[in-house]
């Protein structure tokens, strides 16, 4: 599903460069649910951004579902992001003047889907996250947990191969966090491959595999026994 070899990335800081990723090797199979952990500055977000094609690696290989991701121009990257990836962010990143339904339908708009079709599909996904009744509400009229569920519906709308979550529960209280995690686990049960950056141990333990980064290298990569979020709710 996902194959990364000798990935390097550095950022310029003044005259020198900050080496953030120092040769990452990573392989993720279909249906996995991986937590990427590390202290801030360990490179976990940079890694996720590169996987999400929001940033370029300096060197190394990145193959997604047999497709080498290299030297993409902006247009191609946009197309791949739209087709292959779904994003879930800590701060939800919904467009504030669009209602829930329109937010969920946005990736479908960029796929070129017809208006009626994409509204039906967006509604289907909203139903799936249990927010059908809230379809015409603006983000500011929804709670944090509801917003994150809208964001998840949006990430799912384009039926991506890979879900990328950047601290998905970072802005939520514990109960809501577990609700969201329960939902993400459910998606994983249905076969979605999920990659998640987090710094909370309990959230990481709800994944099936934990990768720990430190100073741009993988320190530890272990498969764990998944803790079901449902037990906590």
């Amino acid at each position: 599903m996902l194959e990364i070899k000798q990935l390097h990335k550095s950022y310029p800081i003044g005259d020198s460069r900050l080496h953030v990723l120092k040769g990452i090797n990573l392989s993720v199979k279909e249906g996995e649910m991986v937590a990427i952990m590390g202290s801030s500055g360990s490179g976990k977000s940079t890694l996720l951004n590169i996987i999400g094609m929001l940033d370029h690696a300096d060197s190394g290989d990145y193959i997604l579902d047999g497709l080498p991701i290299k030297n993409l121009n902006e247009k191609k990257a946009a197309e791949y992001r739209n087709k292959f990836l779904g994003f879930i962010f800590q701060s939800f990143n919904l467009i504030n003047y669009k209602n829930a339904l329109e937010n969920v339908a946005l990736p479908l708009y960029y796929q070129g889907m017809k208006r009626k079709e994409r509204q039906e599909l967006a509604m289907f996904h909203l139903e799936k996250v249990g927010l059908a009744d809230w379809a015409h509400h603006l983000p500011k009229e929804l709670s944090g947990g509801q917003n994150q569920r809208v964001a998840i519906a949006r990430a799912l709308a384009a039926n991506p191969k890979l879900l990328l979550a950047d601290e998905p529960t970072g802005a939520l209280d514990m109960t809501t966090s577990y609700e969201i995690m329960e939902f993400i686990q459910q998606l994983n049960d249905e076969g979605k491959t999920i990659l998640m950056v987090t710094h909370e141990e309990d959230i990481a333990n709800m994944c099936k595999r934990i990768i720990r980064l430190r100073d741009g290298v993988i320190m530890e990569d272990t498969a764990i026994k998944q803790v079901r979020a449902k037990q906590h709710v």
Binding site: D55, Y97, K98, P107, R154
Partner: protein, 409 residues
């Protein structure tokens, strides 16, 4: 290609961000409104000048004669100097390439009567060229022609109001009017925008007047319009040259201002040309300044808009928006607002001109209007400027890296 969804996106964005739209729209509307009003006032001033000169041609030169005020070559002061047909012919031939139209003119007041109606009118003996110098418009019939001159025909061309006075609603053409005992056939009726007094004049062949009433071939004055190809400076030189030639010809002292007088409109024309020229430059600078201010305003707002929408753009890009779609969504919104606001500003400007226009007459501003072409040009310039001003920020926006835009604040 008409992309309904793209427009839907844009209209939603405008509708949901009204403050932003109003802000940028206001700048554009204000710029166009100022531009419209300024150009309107400039046009009003120009109209005033045009109106001042509508009575006669602005390239006219009038030659008069009078009594000498200085002794010259043994001739005494107070001698009457007259212009004759031969002087007229001389000027006509000598300066043929500098003259557009030329006519001698003899004027007298006559009792003009038709059946039992009569009135006192100023009647002018002229050559056919007078029609063009006086800017007469033939309403019906014809003006004096060369055959009338040659054969001393008793024909008359009357003003529209004389026809009204004497003939009421019936046509004067072909009828005979009586000028102190002599019948003249009416061959034409003319209109003149110079006002009522100009339409209560009548024209006769000058030779007829000379033959019947004077008994010699004296002409009262000579009216000329100079060739428009000449600059006003050349026309002034021509006037001075003509004056000196005539003074010499009539044995008048070269400095005698009374015996031969030449009134050259080129002097006024030149003054007005300088003034309108200066005014034009001023208006141009002000107009340009207004437009530049508008452009700078739009640029600023566009930069602000892109900054404000950074996060949204980042989200859109993460969801698969191509750089092109980002550029078009921002550009079209800017152009749309610019065009709409420009139109509103235009309407307000035209409205203001219509409203205060009539009361500006006393400030030498007549009918302040803006030519449609100028407005269209200005709007197109503004839209182009808006596009240009919006393009750089939009391009920048399309290059925003989603990670930077989406960074948690």
């Amino acid at each position: 290609m008409f992309d309904l969804d793209l427009w839907r996106e844009i209209f939603q964005s405008i509708n949901k961000n009204r403050t932003r739209g109003l802000l940028s729209g206001f700048t554009v509307a204000f710029a166009i409104m100022l531009f419209t009003i300024l150009f309107g006032i400039a046009n009003g001033l120009e109209n005033t000048f045009d109106e001042l000169f509508i009575k006669t041609a602005d390239n006219a030169i009038y030659v008069y004669s009078g009594r000498t005020s200085k002794p010259y070559k043994g001739l005494q002061v107070g001698r009457a100097v007259s212009l004759y047909n031969e002087d007229f012919e001389y000027i006509k031939n000598e300066y043929s390439n500098k003259i557009e139209y030329i006519t001698p003119k003899l004027s007298r007041n006559f009792q003009v009567s038709f059946i039992n109606k009569k009135g006192s009118y100023n009647v002018l003996g002229v050559h056919p060229d007078a029609q063009h110098i006086e800017k007469l418009k033939i309403k019906k019939g014809r003006f004096i022609n060369l055959n009338d001159i040659k054969s001393h025909l008793k024909v008359i061309v009357i003003g529209r109001l004389i026809e009204e006075d004497l003939f009421g609603k019936t046509s004067a053409i072909g009828q005979y009017v009586n000028l102190e005992g002599i019948n003249y056939k009416v061959v034409g009726v003319f209109k003149d925008n110079g006002g009522d007094s100009q339409e209560r004049l009548a024209y006769l062949p000058i030779t007829t007047v000379q033959h019947i009433y004077i008994g010699k071939d004296a002409v009262g004055e000579i009216n000329i319009t100079y060739n428009r190809k000449m600059s006003s400076d050349e026309a002034l030189t021509f006037g001075t040259d003509l004056t000196q030639t005539l003074r010499q010809r009539k044995n008048v002292a070269p400095t005698d201002q009374r015996a031969i007088r030449v009134n050259n409109m080129a002097l006024q024309t030149k003054g007005i040309e300088t003034m309108t020229g200066g005014l034009g430059i001023l208006i141009f600078i002000i107009g340009l300044g207004t437009l530049i201010a508008g452009i700078v305003g739009i640029s600023n707002i566009m930069i602000f808009i892109v900054k404000e929408r950074t996060k949204e753009i980042g989200i859109r890009k993460a969801l698969g928006a191509t750089p092109k779609s980002i550029v078009s969504i921002i550009l079209i919104e800017s152009v749309l607002i610019t065009a709409l606001a420009g139109y509103i500003g235009l309407l307000i400007g035209v409205g203001v001109l219509k409203w205060v226009g009539p009361s500006l007459k006393e400030y030498y501003i007549t009918n302040p209007e803006v030519h449609f072409n100028i407005i269209i040009t200005a709007t197109i310039v503004l839209i182009a400027a808006g596009t240009l001003a919006g393009f750089v920020p939009a391009q920048k926006a399309s290059r925003i890296k989603p990670i930077i835009a989406l960074r948690n604040d």
